[in-house]
Amino acid sequence: MNSRSKTSTVLVVLTLGFCFLACSFLLNLWGHPALRAPVPLVDLAFIEPSTARLSAADLIKAKADTSNFECYTCHDKKNPVKIKYDTNEMIILPTEHQDLKMGHGRHNRNNNCFNCHNEKNLESLQTRDGRELKIEESPQLCGSCHGPTFRDWEAGVHGRVSGYWNRAMGGFERKTCPSCHDPHSPKFPPRKPAPGPHALHTAVASSPAEQEHH
């Protein structure tokens, strides 16, 4: 009889224990662990592989609007362009070209449109040694001054290459210089960085006072 009552005591205690655990889980007595602030999805603009800008070659390839490169809708073929300079020998841009930022090089030796544009045919380009190039053939023109960079570009080492590393398995695309550099102001423009990493353990709402304390 004694052992039997012992057994029932043990069973009763166990049952009560389980009942307590069950209640605490169902009623959520201990609460959930503190939730992290949800991590927002990254803006798709940070994923897509676009270049810094669009070059004439890109526009022609995409069959987009290239009217910006049709110089003779405004200029007159018989009337050669005269470049005007101010007293500091800086170029005075006409109102139609105010969108250009002249900043090619840290000197002002490029203060002349016809270092690169062809004065005899404004819709084409010219190198300093007199080669005439189409507007989409700009790498040849850039390379006539920037030799080592052009050599790297030809090897696929300067600038963006996309497609297949294994040329036998598929094509590849090498972007031209103006796809990233504005020819009139070629320094690569700064941009907003994509969001940084979100830590696994961050307090949900840490007050400014708390942050100062840390």
């Binding site: 049952t15 991590v39 990254v42 994923i47 696929g156 290459v161 994509a194 969001p195």
Partner: protein
């Protein structure tokens, strides 16, 4: 206990029969047992949150290197079914083998990197990493000019614009070492180096012990602490078995040079997204490749933490 007997008589009044239990005893015992079992079940309630039960099929799966093509086809089919059930997208899952005469090398131009972190997020999108909590293979360190002391690197920079004055940026990811410490420590051989130089992980063989994470001097390996969350519309359906197929909770993952792209001849996602053209990738055994050109002609100055002897296939270089 709760449903006490309706009989008002005290216990002592009932005389238990010699040969067995009384009805009251039986009722009482069964009530106790029923309550106990119910309480036990309720007490195990947290187990309801368990997901990803291993199926028999998965449990009996063979080691990657012992699988025949037929075995592999079955496994790939299972993965396709699982992904479709979870994400509603029928993926193309392939088991891509390394090519002959190919050894991958990565070169990163520290002069060109502007620290925009596009590579970080293109990698996440390509390789189906968990979005919340975040798993990212690439860390971009912002380093002050004039030093290569990694201790001075800062990867939480939150600038309005990059690049900033007096800083350069140094992205770090898996260095695909020739002598990988992570492979040496793996107790289950779930990670190994393939002949094209990529150190791969079989997520079905990983037991999540995290030895490799501790062994890696570059902090390149990531652990899935929770079940990864990937929005359905952001899942990349072009998958490889050793690459970007969705992982489960409790396994390691890391950069695998976008195996699903590079073993099919394409450039990795981080190379194609870099707006500055700072990232270069290719076959070092091909003298015509970009990486061969860089190793020949550029000031390749560093294999990160050269002194630990891991001999990375990831080179940092400067222009000029």
């Amino acid at each position: 206990m709760s449903d006490s007997s309706p009989n008002p008589n005290p216990d002592s009044a009932q005389k238990p029969p010699e040969h067995g239990q009384s009805r009251r005893d039986f009722l009482r015992t069964s009530a106790v047992v029923a309550t106990g079992v119910a309480a036990l079940a309720a007490a195990l309630a947290p187990l309801r949150d368990l997901k990803d039960f291993t199926t028999v099929e998965k449990f009996l799966q063979k080691y990657y290197k012992e699988m025949t093509p037929q075995d592999m086809e079955k496994v790939l089919d299972r993965i396709r079914r699982e992904v479709e059930a979870q994400y509603g997208v029928r993926p193309t899952v392939q088991d891509l083998k390394p090519m002959n005469g190919v050894e991958f090398v990565y070169c990163l131009n520290l002069t060109r990197c502007i620290g925009c972190r596009k590579c970080v997020h293109a990698c996440v999108a390509e390789n189906n990493q968990s979005r919340d909590p975040e798993i990212q293979y690439i860390r971009v360190l912002r380093m002050p000019h004039g030093s290569l002391d990694l201790e001075k690197g800062e990867h939480n920079y939150d600038s309005e614009q990059v690049p900033e004055k007096n800083y350069f940026y140094m992205p770090i990811q898996c260095q695909q070492c020739r002598n990988p410490a992570c492979v040496k420590v793996c107790p289950t051989k779930a990670t190994w180096q393939d002949k094209d130089g990529i150190t791969v992980i079989d997520y079905d063989w990983c037991i999540g012990c995290r030895y490799c994470e501790a062994a890696c001097p570059y902090f390149a390996r990531r652990f899935n602490w929770t079940r990864p969350t990937i929005p359905k519309d952001r899942l990349n359906p072009n998958m490889a078995y050793l690459g970007n197929r969705p992982r489960r909770q409790g396994v390691m993952e890391k950069c695998h040079f976008c195996i699903q792209r590079t073993r099919a001849g394409r450039y990795p996602a981080c190379v194609e997204v870099c707006p500055a053209g700072a990232r270069k990738f290719g076959n070092v055994l091909d003298p015509e490749s970009e990486v061969s050109y860089i190793l020949r002609n550029k000031r390749v100055f560093i294999q990160l933490k050269e002194e630990v002897g891991t001999s990375p296939r990831f080179y940092y270089y400067f222009d000029v």
